[in-house]
């Protein structure tokens, strides 16, 4: 099919926001200032897993320049938030549990960053310590204390296609390995920040704060604060990177509360440390993969067990972990597939979205398996991939039949060609 030449699509147009970005004119959330603006700092959990028994803000409140300190007792009407499951408290109250070091205990509002920061240190907290569960395998044990009341296994997902037994029976070679990946931070260069203003006339809370999904963030803030959605207005400033980290609520609800309660413009900017401890991580995965192939080098069976450490709260964890499993065979034809994926709570920093959403961790497993198999079978790794790769009509582990746009073989041939793979191999012999 011959395509008509395009005027602008397919061309290297300069980025529309580039001018503002090279001149420093682009306004990110932390670049917004108001006169008489107040600054917020958050008092965070003091232990990864504990009941809050007492919180004393009296000393902090006496510090000159402290305007207001909000604890859970002040906001009984506020509801939990969360991307998929509303399991994250806005503030942990007395008698409630802190489940990781990022849990918020109090919102400190002061005339300067420095005063707010000093006041946070003056807040006294007493806790009843519980067993810290840092290892998802421990979390899955029967006698492990529960982090949330419904159990530490937050979600279990299954995958079954063809007949896995038959598939392994057809295999001449089977490789079985365990892969592990670690918690990663997205490290967008801009840390979480925002400015909030309450308009007394319209009673609308205006928030200038980055989010990857404006309307979803608005909805979550509104439900948490029991307000109609239109009372929360988010205006997107320029965003300093995201990579999944800006899907979750960070400064948003605390800002809104502070603006509502003080009726003044408020700013909350995390430190990098706070950002890393408090906001979502790439899930640490354990992937147990078992793959079978014939001696001619055709895949016959692929079985996986996935354990995703989702930390203290769900965030997008259940979706991440099963999406990883759904990609367990990579772009290769396998008739018989079986998988189970567990999304598990621990007292680690909660895990959520990060570039690749589970498929990234899984690719490390399946492409290592492919390489190991190729060497075991004595087949060139490129040839092994090519002969198993999808084409039109292939079916994914989900049983989705691909009807168009399946360029996987072209990418393999293209990369090998670019890299001079054959010459390299010959050069080494």
């Amino acid at each position: 099919m011959k395509k008509m030449p395009k005027e602008y699509v397919g061309k290297n147009i300069f980025k529309v926001d580039a001018y503002d970005k090279v001149t420093g004119k682009a306004i990110y959330a932390d670049d917004i200032y108001f006169d008489d603006m107040l600054y917020i700092k958050i008092k965070r959990a003091t232990y990864p897993h504990a009941y809050l028994r007492r919180i004393d803000i009296s000393k902090a409140q006496k510090l000159p320049g402290v305007v207001r300190i909000i604890t859970a007792a002040d906001i009984p009407w506020v509801k939990n938030f969360g991307l998929i499951i509303k399991d994250q408290p806005v503030l942990v109250g007395v008698g409630q549990k802190m489940r990781y070091m990022g849990d918020a205990l109090a919102i400190v509002i002061a005339e300067s960053k420095e005063i707010a920061s000093k006041a946070v240190k003056l807040i006294e907290v007493e806790v009843e310590e519980l067993e810290i569960i840092s290892d998802p395998l421990r979390a899955m044990e029967k006698d492990a204390p529960l982090i949330h009341q419904d159990g530490n296994i937050l979600a279990t997902h299954y995958l079954e296609k063809g007949d896995i037994k038959k598939g392994f029976a057809q295999a001449d070679v089977v490789v079985e390995n365990e892969y592990r990946t670690s918690f990663l931070d997205q490290v967008p260069l801009q840390v979480e920040a925002g400015v909030g203003v309450f308009d007394p006339e319209t009673e609308i809370i205006k928030l200038w704060v980055a989010t990857q999904w404006l309307h979803d963030t608005q909805a979550d803030i509104a439900q948490s604060l029991s307000l109609p959605k239109e009372k929360i207005r988010i205006i997107q400033p320029v965003i300093g990177g995201a990579f999944g980290k800006r899907e979750d609520i960070s400064v948003h609800i605390h800002l809104a509360l502070a603006a509502m309660i003080t009726k003044k413009p408020v700013k909350l900017t995390y430190t990098r440390e706070e950002s890393m401890i408090t906001q979502s991580k790439r899930h640490a995965f354990i992937v147990r993969a078992k793959t079978g192939a014939t001696k001619e080098g055709y895949l016959t069976a692929w079985q996986v067990e996935v354990i995703g450490d989702t930390g203290a709260y769900a965030s997008s964890g259940p979706a991440v972990v099963h999406k990883g499993m759904y990609h367990c065979t990579g772009p290769y034809n396998v008739d018989n597939v079986k998988g189970v994926a567990y999304t598990v709570y621990t007292n680690n920093t909660y895990a959520g979205a990060m570039r690749g959403f589970g498929a990234t961790q899984m690719a490390f497993a399946y492409e290592s398996q492919m390489d190991i198999l190729a060497h075991k079978l004595g087949i060139d790794p490129v040839q092994f991939r090519l002969q198993n790769a999808y084409s039109i009509g292939s079916s994914t582990p989900n049983g989705q039949v691909l009807t168009h746009s399946v360029g996987v073989k072209e990418t393999i041939k293209g990369a090998v060609d670019l890299a001079g793979w054959e010459e390299w191999k010959e050069g080494r012999l």
Binding site: E114, S117, K118, T271
Partner: protein, 309 residues
């Protein structure tokens, strides 16, 4: 609270006493020493700030009194006097990296400076800061130790010269007293026939705190055959930067062809007792210490061989 406005270029007399915190930026060493004798532990000395501002991130307000060395020109000089090199305490890593004299006489000090952090850090960080901060991973410390540096410490009362090896007593701990100021690093000018090697192992290729470092300096006798002095100093393998004295004993008086590099590497591995931390395990540091010692010996040997031929 009464506000007071200070002239930074002057001294404490321009400040009002009611102020909660004081900022001094004297122009003379003597003035700095006076301030130190008065405030002792109640004042923080700041030069480049590349360690201090990191350490006090988000809590700078905890520091009440500051002594800024930026106006003391005397401390910024690199000069040769008699048979020694005098490096002022606030000489920056960039100065060390680019100084022709340092490159000529103390090449691995220049290389170590070039390996520090990033351009921004090298432009501000100082040799004195690196020394008094006394991180086991301080990049300049093994080369300084290997070049037999002495540190000049001044107070109102006295002047002391302390050999590098006696200066460090633990992680971030030194023998310097609150009223003392490190003013100079003094290095004896080496003989012509000195050969040296610097190796830094980090987890990435810039902005890396060392996992392990090694400075090896070997001086040959007049005949350029016999080893007259040999110092192997390592960083990040102990609470302080250390010299492996056994290497010195084993190498002095020998010719290169009498040495078993592998054995010397093993000696380094055996003599260090590093810890596991975020930058590397004990086992890794021991393994790598041996390998980099062998690599350093090979480098020293080949530059000696080139000059010998």
């Amino acid at each position: 609270m009464e506000e007071s406005f200070g002239d930074l270029k002057g001294c404490q007399k321009t400040y009002q006493k009611t102020a909660l915190s004081q900022y001094f930026a004297p122009q003379k060493i003597e003035e700095a020493l006076e301030i130190l004798s008065k405030y002792g532990e109640e004042i923080k000395i700041i030069a480049g700030g590349t360690d201090l501002l990191v350490q006090y991130y988000d809590r700078l307000y905890e520091i009440n009194n500051w002594l800024d060395l930026k106006n003391i020109i005397e401390l910024k000089k690199i000069r040769i006097s008699k048979n020694q090199m005098e490096i002022g305490a606030t000489v920056t890593h960039s100065q060390l990296e680019n100084s022709e004299d340092i490159k000529k006489y103390f090449p691995i000090l220049s290389q170590a400076a070039a390996d520090i952090g990033s351009p921004q850090i090298r432009n501000r960080g100082t040799v004195g800061g690196n020394i008094v901060n006394a991180s086991p991973a301080g990049d300049l410390l093994p080369p300084l130790m290997a070049y037999d540096a002495q540190f000049k410490l001044l107070s109102v009362q006295k002047e002391e010269l302390i050999p590098a090896e006696e200066f460090f007593v633990g992680p971030k701990q030194t023998i310097i007293k609150p009223d003392q100021l490190l003013t100079q690093v003094i290095l004896p000018l080496p003989y012509e026939k000195t050969y040296d090697s610097w190796i830094k192992i980090g987890k990435r290729r810039a902005l890396a705190i060392a996992t392990i470092t090694l400075a090896l300096v070997v001086k040959m006798a007049e005949d350029n055959k016999t080893i007259k002095e040999a110092r192997a100093c390592l960083g990040s393998v102990a609470p302080t930067p250390i010299q492996i004295k056994e290497i010195r004993e084993r190498m002095i008086g020998k010719n290169f062809n009498q040495l078993d590099f592998n054995q010397l590497g093993q000696m380094v591995e055996d003599k260090i007792s590093p810890i596991d931390d975020i930058r590397g395990t004990r086992e890794y540091r021991k393994d790598v210490a041996k390998e980099i010692m062998i690599n350093a010996l090979e480098e020293v040997y080949s530059s000696w061989w080139r000059s010998y031929k």
